[in-house]
Symmetry: D2
Subunit: 368 residues, 4 copies
């Protein structure tokens, strides 16, 4: 049965290139396949609003979109239809509204979805398919680039570029002031952004979740530099980086920094900065880039990649090739079964090219 | 008596354009006036080190310098020669080493100085002149642009550009997520950076030290936008912005946020963000740009301005026109007596063009 | 009689910041003065089309406009209503349609205009006022910054920034290849862009319309650099730069390069590059930046300035203060009578600060 | 026999990332392998100069190099040692100086070379190995990304980014003026830059060497857009793009534009622009980016990639694994025999992902 109409939505955190994916889906569907595209706002939430925020997307709606950050459809981390927050007796409780949602989607005449999102979003889409028969094609979205099935997720290299630009800026000040500068970058479970930006920015130390760091080793690297009259150092820290066993306490000297025997997420840069200042007897400053890494116009690489993802997802949907995720296997975009795609957290390969590159130019990774 | 040799140094916080000023001083002195230039490192501190870090600067030392952030001479906020930290009996005590410094400067055969720095640095230079007869020419340096005697200090528009780029990035994410985004910018006593970047970035609210803000007015602006279906808002906050009387307590709900009845400096963005989230019932996030505003390559405006400052300062020194500060009176660089230059904090003019421009496009300044 | 409705349009070449001016006019008029704003497309041409392309502009039409290059109203160099091209007997002839236009403007209920444009556009607006009683306020627009009445026109520093970025790029290649690189920048009658970008980019030679250049002097500068082992040189040329008398022939060795005894406009970079390669026995390459200088998002300075111009123009119109042009007299936006504004070509001041700054850092201006 | 000392040099056209490769080679060789690195300037030419320009490179020589465009060693397209230009009887004649060069290299105690260059440079290095026993490791360098053995050459994505930024700028002006804008990009034999930048920049037409273009098809695309009231179009043209048979004459209306029955290289943008203006009865402008694509600081992707190439090449040399070329096989850097590496021109895959992506969003490639 020919596909006549598909739905599209974006879920999870913002990521440069979302708009370019949407544009790719719309252009290809309308131009090549004669398929209508219906966008729902703020992930699935647009369906539940009154009136519904659900809209047909035409080529004209996509003007200038390839270069625009953010997502024209809006996005959110909230609103799992299987666990939807509703008010009851003045309290917010959760309710399974997934069957209702599936009905709404069918009522729009939608044959299947293109879901653009991370693990959470794609997992929800999969349940909708498995439990309610709404088929879909997935486009992986994570700024952290930690999806094993694809060489690169869109937005990753834009985030790395933003981080590298920031490191470049901090470098001149660090050098002028003989300071340590600590910059905290995204990466909760995987350190790809910090590793790539650290190499590109010429950082002296890079701390990532995959390698528990020994603060003494970091301080020692900085002191070795000092002896060679390099009076400044730049440290890139992934937000998910953690100390080696036994050093949790040195990073949790304030009570609020410890949660259940672990270093609390957030504020890592500050604590690393304070410790290094103390150990190296140098001035130290820190910056947390935070949301700056999620926004703004995508770099050319991500615009091209996101466009190709969108076009491929549209082809996939048009062919009724559901339950697939589109992936980059350089230089091609291919599809893999969604299960294979989702269950594939990729952390930094500790014996791979990029760790070697970092060590090769003398960067301390906190373990040596 | 003809000037044969001058000293140059940079003091205080980093600022884009310092290198271009140094380059201007060196080129002009050597090429036009046949004057030698001696740079001292880390403000005056280079004189006190053993061996001294003091060096003749030639044209070849200035290669590529116009485009480079930071300062090749290093800089520091520490080391006032009138109050110099020395170790005595294992403790750090202060000592007046100014006479000693003046001697060292004379020993180098230096006829006068070009001092590139802020209030603090220029004040020290003035005391050296007044008390020890070392004459100087001042080049004003403050990223905050709060020197009344000059239209613009170099580095200011670079900081504004960096801040504006950041606001642009945050905008796409704010819009995609229906969020409030609060960005904290530099400006302890004057809000020029926040005002200019807020206008340029299309902020919805701008909070500056010159206008105590009423958090209710800010929340109210955001809620009015919401009613018109603009589901996001962007708030630019100068680090020195303060609430109206009576609202200190709402910004100091954590004990550590209050110091002597005032809101503690630092962390303002976070507190404003939390309050607005609560009052507007929206998600809110914040970013503190911090040192990103001080580093990196200067924009063209600042490179040209800093070059012109340097050239003029060299001319001024060559003419023995000491005790002057170079200033921009668009389109010319002129000189004013140093006293007039230093004593001229310029805050934002509350009835001037830029406040009108901000209000004109509907920006809330926290007072209405 | 209170102003109820104003018209706005943009005429002449593209310039970064046009959208920000429009936004300023609309916001201020609607918010503060309760005045409606009617935009006409492609300068006045929108009035003559069927159906007319003339539209009320509301605040919602201005979303995101502060950061956008170009003009939402379109612009054109063609369509002077006093000399309007119409078809007659299969040929294009000129016709005075100004009275007709004035009638159309009045029919829209428009009390006066805000004209954003250069000499040509503002001159037409003035004739419309003088001959047909349609009053207006002018906002000066020229990327070349050659309006004497205002410190800076918006868009100028964006063009300088684009040119400086280009020079930075060319520098690394020039240095790696021991080459001369010639870059042609905008500036037909005034060399402000080339002068500012040349200083900011660290050019070795800058050729501007105000100073006839002696190609031997330029070659000699490059050869002097070579002797000091600076094996490359960067030459910034304004498109309107011209050789000293007697050298026209060396730049017009191809017949097509000469027009009426003068060097033809266009292609200057190529000819200068060829000549220098020959005279210095070095490789030489050239780049013509052209339209890259007119487009793209404005830098922060121009966004703020354009916003302030727009707001001031709206205030001016609301006050019935017609026949005025808004101008920057740093730090304020003021108004001057339109005649004073238009008749004020400002070329580079040959004894001013910026020429001194250029010479100060050893830049050859073609005359020494 | 352990490798003690290696030579390194860069040859051919400038490319962003050369410095980062050199830095990677030096750091890794010195830090990990205890191998000395000797750089020769301007490819091999440094050996032939008196005194020789050949220099030991230490870690300190590599400060700040990761972010710097160009090459600290200089580069050139001239000076093939097998065909070296020498003066004889007042004329320049070619002479085989390869044996002499090999002797000079051995005299430096160099065990092997790291050659960073394109086809030409690597071919010369191979002859030196084959005919004179000087072994080497190759690092492929081409801004055009047309080496089949590697996923990406460094510098390519920087060039694409520069081109995309330019297209973004031209877009706003094209739209404001209802114009055609033609931008000429690099790519003599392969259209990768134009294809990627065209997709990323949202071009309407992309003309590449791999697909002979029919100017009527291009004009027809532009006219179709006009009917949908998209009054402007942006055309990206690779410098090596050529018309279909039978249309050579329309592009060579000026005699100088034809060479041996083919369209002359150079000036393609101008001719395409003129033709489209005439056929579509629209204004049209063109820009030739030229050397802007070769210079400037590399983007983060290329800095990281170039670093990894350099480190891998050093490892390869240290292991005596000569006659190899380092290649990216995402996500790893691997080595392939040099013959396999050189003989592998990769043009755009006409049935691949990127052509599909371009067609998917409605871009005209000149053939349909």
């Amino acid at each position: 049965m020919a596909v006549k109409r598909i739905g599209v939505f974006t879920g999870g955190g913002d990521c440069p290139g979302l708009n370019a994916v949407i544009r790719g889906v719309v252009h290809r569907s309308v131009r090549e396949h004669g398929i209508e595209v219906i966008g729902s706002y703020d992930s699935f939430n647009g369906y539940f609003e009154t009136p519904q925020r659900v809209k047909r997307l035409d080529i004209d709606d996509c003007k200038g979109l390839v270069a625009k950050g953010g997502t024209m459809l809006g996005t959110t981390n909230r609103g799992d239809p299987f666990d939807y927050p509703v008010e009851k007796d003045g309290k917010i409780v959760a309710k399974d509204r997934s069957a209702e949602l599936a009905e709404m989607i069918r009522a729009e005449g939608i044959d299947g979805l293109v879901a653009i999102g991370g693990d959470g979003t794609l997992g929800i889409a999969k349940r909708l398919m498995d439990e309610h028969g709404i088929p879909f094609v997935g486009v992986p979205k994570t700024i952290d680039n930690d999806v094993g099935a694809t060489d690169y997720t869109f937005g990753f290299w834009t985030a790395v570029q933003t981080a590298t630009d920031a490191i470049d800026r901090l470098h001149t000040t660090a050098e002028s002031h003989d300071r340590i500068m600590v910059v905290e970058l995204m990466g909760r479970d995987a350190g790809h952004i910090a590793l790539a930006a650290g190499i590109a920015g010429g950082a002296d130390c890079i701390l990532i979740p995959e390698i528990p760091f020994d603060i003494e080793k970091v301080a020692s690297k900085i002191l070795r530099r000092q002896k060679k009259r390099r009076q400044f150092s730049l440290v890139a820290v992934a937000e998910g980086a953690r100390p080696v066993d036994g050093q949790v306490s040195v990073l949790t000297q304030r009570p609020e920094d410890e949660v259940g025997g672990q270093v609390r997420l957030g504020g890592l840069a500050q604590r690393v900065s304070d410790l290094l200042a103390q150990k190296c007897k140098m001035e130290s400053r820190y910056v947390v880039l935070g949301h700056l890494q999620r926004g703004g116009t995508p770099i050319a690489f991500d615009r091209a990649l996101a466009t190709a993802y969108g076009v491929k997802a549209a082809d996939c949907a048009a062919a009724g090739n559901w339950g697939q995720m589109v992936c980059l296997r350089t230089p091609d975009i291919v599809t893999v079964p969604i299960d294979e795609g989702i269950d594939s957290l990729r952390q930094v390969n500790l014996t791979g090219t990029w760790i070697e590159a970092a060590r090769g130019v003398g960067i301390c990774l906190g373990d040596q």
